[in-house]
Point group: C2
């Protein structure tokens, strides 16, 4: 559905998916540009400059701009939702899980802040345009799962059931995440002390 009209379906010789590979390459360049500039300021020419090609080629591999961006969002989705799985699997005590989660929480905020900024930008975008609504709410559902995995395992290790619902937990941690991102972006609190404190408080109340 979302692929550009492939020049020839049989694809003849080797590499049935050279086409698909280049599509992904361009979608990755798109994701980089989106993270840097945000949705509204990302143009096709700018995307092309973050790739090895010229702007005209984008319409050879993608139907239109939205098709391209949707593909980039799919790549983002695949990247972003398995972050804490290992910590959940390996931690043996509640405190250990909590400490590991917190430090990864802060670390990804610092390392991939542009990407997380993009996430909130995209979610904001869907409030004005329905185009990416499905992709975005799919990602939100996965994020909720991801957080709940951590928290429910934390409660299991602790031996006490969670005091808060799955949705409220996600909402709260996401709020801390968002505010931590803001503190980072405007230079306040580059060490994320506030986010750490809030995170501790949130865990205590769970």
């Amino acid at each position: 559905m979302t692929t550009a009209t492939r020049p020839d379906v049989r694809s003849g010789a080797r590499g049935p998916d050279k086409f698909a590979a280049r599509r992904e390459e361009l979608a990755r360049a798109t994701l980089v540009t989106l993270a840097e500039l945000g949705y509204a300021r990302t143009s096709l020419r700018e995307i092309a400059q973050n790739s090895a090609f010229s702007h005209g080629v984008l319409h050879y591999y993608f139907r239109d701009k939205l098709d391209l961006i949707a593909e980039a969002v799919r790549i983002y989705e695949a990247m972003c939702v398995t972050r804490y799985d290992e910590a959940v699997a390996t931690a043996t005590t509640a405190d250990e899980l909590r400490r590991e989660f917190s430090s990864m929480f802060v670390a990804t905020l610092q390392t991939d802040s542009s990407l997380h900024r993009l996430w909130y930008d995209l979610r904001n975008q869907t409030r004005y345009e329905a185009s990416l609504r499905d992709e975005v709410s799919e990602i939100e559902a996965r994020r909720t799962d991801m957080i709940w995995n951590v928290v429910s395992r934390y409660c299991e290790l602790r031996g006490a059931p969670a005091a808060l619902s799955r949705e409220l937990v996600y909402l709260t941690l996401d709020g801390i995440f968002q505010q931590g991102l803001d503190d980072l972006l405007d230079g306040t609190d580059p060490e994320m002390d506030r986010a750490r404190t809030l995170l501790d408080e949130a865990f205590d109340s769970i």
Copy 2:
């Protein structure tokens, strides 16, 4: 600082502030347009169409587009932060305050959803551009105060201190607000049942 270069300072004849009045009129038209279209899609010509004037006049009253938008944001700020004051003042029991707050919470979400959408859009905007950062964080501080006023009064009436910090309370309620807005905008849950449930849960955990 932010006013356009006034044609004549002494202003000669009557009405020392006909100029200021028209500025506000245009800023209000800007706010309407922003709420409708969002920051990225709001153009000067569109703003002018939501007013009684043509697009050229905007540069007569405002230095540039940003000056105009900043003025609109100031109007928004003045509107948006006294919403629950009356409920705080008149409520005599904790349950009454809680009920009043919840119903106002839901009501403003339904009535002014475009305006609240704009707020999140603006906050998102400051993650890419520093221009409105001061105005936005001023508003965020006021929102935090507004929420804390309610919650601390609620705890006072209840006779027990708050279990959560001022910041975490704001973060959580704002998250519920945001998710309620999303439910409203994409047609899920137009009655805000989910938001009501989350709000109850949040109050219980305070």
